[in-house]
Point group: C2
Chain length 320, copies 2
């Protein structure tokens, strides 16, 4: 499946999470801050690709920019768990070899996507979680950060609101809070490089108020992240429980591979039809080996953007 | 996708792991013990189905029998991690609803598949790992077991051998032990019930000498386990790192769904061709909504069996 098409082109798409993102609740300042961060992420990834770098490096570095921003639910801006901690997941995949690295339940890793890359390249395993993953990180000199670094006032308030809502409606044995308003989010990037290789990278803090040990779709290979040069690279976002059951990323790949669908048709079929039918809210960014980009989502909004060799960065937040 | 075909039939297939299972290394006593355990597992699952029970219950209870046996790498017979502990993973999926429960990194749960079922039915999350999963288990009265219960001499020796081999060949920064001889294994069951519903269940101790925090294919929805009434239910086994990259379970589903392949052709294509081409060793058991069963594997052997309404239990270990 390792087809390689030597086109001297490249392209990059990014997402900063899908969900209930309403224009009515967005101030001009906040909107501008998001747009600036997305443009910065695209710019960093673009520079890697323009100078002949790899899709893997471009996707990873584009994700790093969003991980380092307090605006997105990954890295610095990661949401709080039920217990007031952070548990981050990430995954990166190389479309040329289908090598992959996934990490989950990270408490103190500054840039989870960097650890996913390291797992892909230096571990005989491809999925490491929890303390074992952090031990591996320490042995390889990955940057750690303390609780203070990950404390953002906005996310802390989100947790307090979720906890208050939960207390109000929870009976003794069941939790009924299935609302997902603003609780989820990821960051992700997909890239095609000048060598004809694809890559996908996704990083997330998960879900506000999630229970300790909850793993979402991001590190689930084929759910939140997948890349294969023969078809496309995908990074999905939204409510993980549905994205996992629908295998969103691999299902787009499968429709292209087995039904010869175009990227646009396959992404549309999976996100707008199948995920919607299952009751799942979210979206995905995808890129094929010709540099075609698809960015479908069935939620109110999705932070997203792309940049092609000859163009200005394209950035959008709402349905528009 | 929730098609339901009201055929008054049922069927069950099980697997107890694929790998380097050589007839030359098997004593008649050991072989008989494995056959007896497989027959017992089939018998328990069969009784559930024959009396009109659900595919979910049949798959779960067939897996329980193998988890309770010291012979298989799951539950009591789980392999040791590098640190001399146990970290078990499991997953169960309902083909009627595509509801699913997955658990990973369990240290002390007697029957991991029971906890997976509980996560499916009682948690708003579908994948819980580590201490968070055990906390959830405790709150719901799941049975725990101590280290002594999980200590089997055979598995302890396997770890010592793996560690000795590793010490002999490891340089300071890299581990070179990629051999998989006898180190892996799972147990799994797939079932069709009289109501026309499918289910899949898989449980495993993972890989001898695995690093703390390593998660394999078993709890990765679509890799080691998947079920959809519209197509089939699958439980895969073998070297997880390859099964995850190939999305073995969901790829069989996708070939049936998108290329109208039969179960036998789809399972063969994925396990014998695609997994083999990727360099992965393993196998899968699969059942479709007509009760057709496929059990392909590309390794030396796979503990496996099935039972149909009118037949005796069929049990095999080697290629034959």
């Amino acid at each position: 499946m390792n087809t390689s098409n030597k086109i001297d082109s490249f392209a990059l798409a990014i997402q900063g999470g899908a969900g209930t993102i309403l224009k009515s609740k967005m101030t001009p300042e906040k909107e501008q801050a998001y747009r600036n961060a997305l443009v910065e992420s695209l710019s960093v990834g673009y520079d890697v690709l323009a100078s002949g770098g790899t899709a893997l490096d471009a996707a990873q570095k584009a994700v790093n920019v969003m991980e380092d921003s307090p605006l997105f639910n990954a890295g610095k801006g990661a949401v709080f768990t039920h217990d007031g901690h952070h548990e981050q997941d990430a995954c990166i995949m190389d479309g040329a070899t289908r090598n992959v690295g996934a990490v989950a339940m990270l408490h103190r890793i500054k840039n989870p996507i960097d650890l996913a890359r390291l797992v892909m390249e230096k571990s005989s395993h491809i999925f490491l979680a929890g303390e074992g993953a952090e031990e591996f990180a320490r042995a390889h000199g990955i940057d750690f950060a303390d609780d203070e670094y990950f404390h953002t006032e906005f996310r802390w308030k989100q947790l307090q609101e979720a906890l208050a809502k939960e207390r109000a409606i929870v009976s003794e044995h069941t939790r009924l809070d299935h609302s997902v308003e603003d609780k989820t989010g990821t960051v992700g990037a997909v890239a095609l490089d000048r060598h004809g290789n694809l890559a996908a990278a996704t990083s997330t803090g998960g879900m506000t108020n999630k229970r300790a040990g909850r793993i979402g779709d991001t590190p689930m290979i084929g759910a939140g992240t997948y890349a294969d040069n023969a078809t496309c690279a995908v990074s999905a976002t939204g409510v993980g429980e549905f994205i996992m059951r629908a295998l969103v990323a691999y299902d787009i790949v499968a429709l292209m591979m087995y039904k010869n669908m175009t990227l646009a048709d396959a992404a549309d079929e999976v996100v707008m039809k199948k995920l919607t039918a299952l009751g799942g809210s979210g979206g995905a960014i995808a890129i094929d080996r010709f540099g075609t980009i698809a960015m479908p989502f069935n939620s109110e909004g999705m932070y997203r953007g792309y940049r092609l060799p000859d163009g200005e960065p394209f950035v959008r937040i709402f349905k528009d």
